[in-house]
Symmetry: C2
């Protein structure tokens, strides 16, 4: 367990902070915040996009990309300090990182841990790939995608029924 | 010096790897590669864009955003392992991070260290903000921006002479 969860939970009693993680983990433990682990290698930047984290963010964020993972071969990890991401934010991550796991951290401890889980409908996150769809016009409506399958992800537009399963990251709004 | 350069140079003799960095630094020393430090807070994602690092990269990359900096208040740091970025790549970073410093690392040691420096002309990196400029048409030409000032950055399009100084990051190609 300690191998795959980035430096969570075990305090170094001499110094009152976590024992040093294996070098592969590269990013230190956080005191409070959210850790998203087991993101498919290279997808961290899309995860930040889904969470609305860009150049204008105030949040302290750590990201590693393409580190070794027993489970996935290569993985990315995203840590956001002092912010407990909402469940709806985290579940959108399942669109591009179906194997991701979420750890909510308080005072170095994992107080909540769960896999991501796609809801049945995604609103305003993924654009329909049909250029003629009404959701791609100037009408004041958000995109609405029904989730037909979860691993691999298969979406279908509520309005025009166009399916979307490949390269979903390219259609992130 | 040790404060501002992320964990460079000093090996822990007992363990033959670098002494633990201050907690604020958050990201471990790398063995070989390039470290870009003193990036203006929040600009790391644009730095990755300039370096062509996206979801399809193979490189192992570590990023922290909005960590404390004596020099800048808030800063970002980008580390790219096993890759020594070319000088032309690094100098483009000066467009959005004029105070950045580059450290080339081999076997934990800083073998080369220099500030970023904008060249006199930037080709194919920043798009002209004039929608009527010939460089924004389907003509097979790359954008060409002359560098008229460096801090703050002032660019001028070679073709239509339109200046560009604000929100340069939004015009990155």
């Amino acid at each position: 367990m300690a191998e795959e969860i980035p430096g969570i939970g075990q305090k170094d009693q001499a110094r009152d902070r976590p024992r040093d993680e294996p070098r592969e983990l590269r990013v230190k433990s956080i005191i409070n915040g959210t850790v998203i682990d087991h993101i498919a290698g290279g997808q961290a930047l899309n995860v930040l996009k889904i969470l609305g984290i860009s150049g204008t963010t105030d949040a302290t964020v750590s990201v590693v990309m393409n580190v070794e993972s027993e489970k996935l071969g290569k993985k990315d990890i995203v840590k956001v300090e002092d912010r407990e991401l909402l469940e709806e934010e985290l579940n959108r991550i399942a669109l591009i990182a179906p194997n991701a796991s979420i750890n909510i951290i308080r005072d170095y401890k994992v107080i909540e841990k769960h896999p991501v889980d796609l809801p049945d409908e995604i609103v305003g996150v993924v654009r329909c790939q049909n250029p003629n769809c009404i959701s791609n016009t100037s009408e004041p409506i958000k995109s609405r995608m029904l989730v037909k399958a979860r691993n691999p992800v298969l979406l279908r537009c509520l309005f025009c029924e166009q399916p979307l399963t490949d390269r979903i990251a390219e259609y992130l709004i």
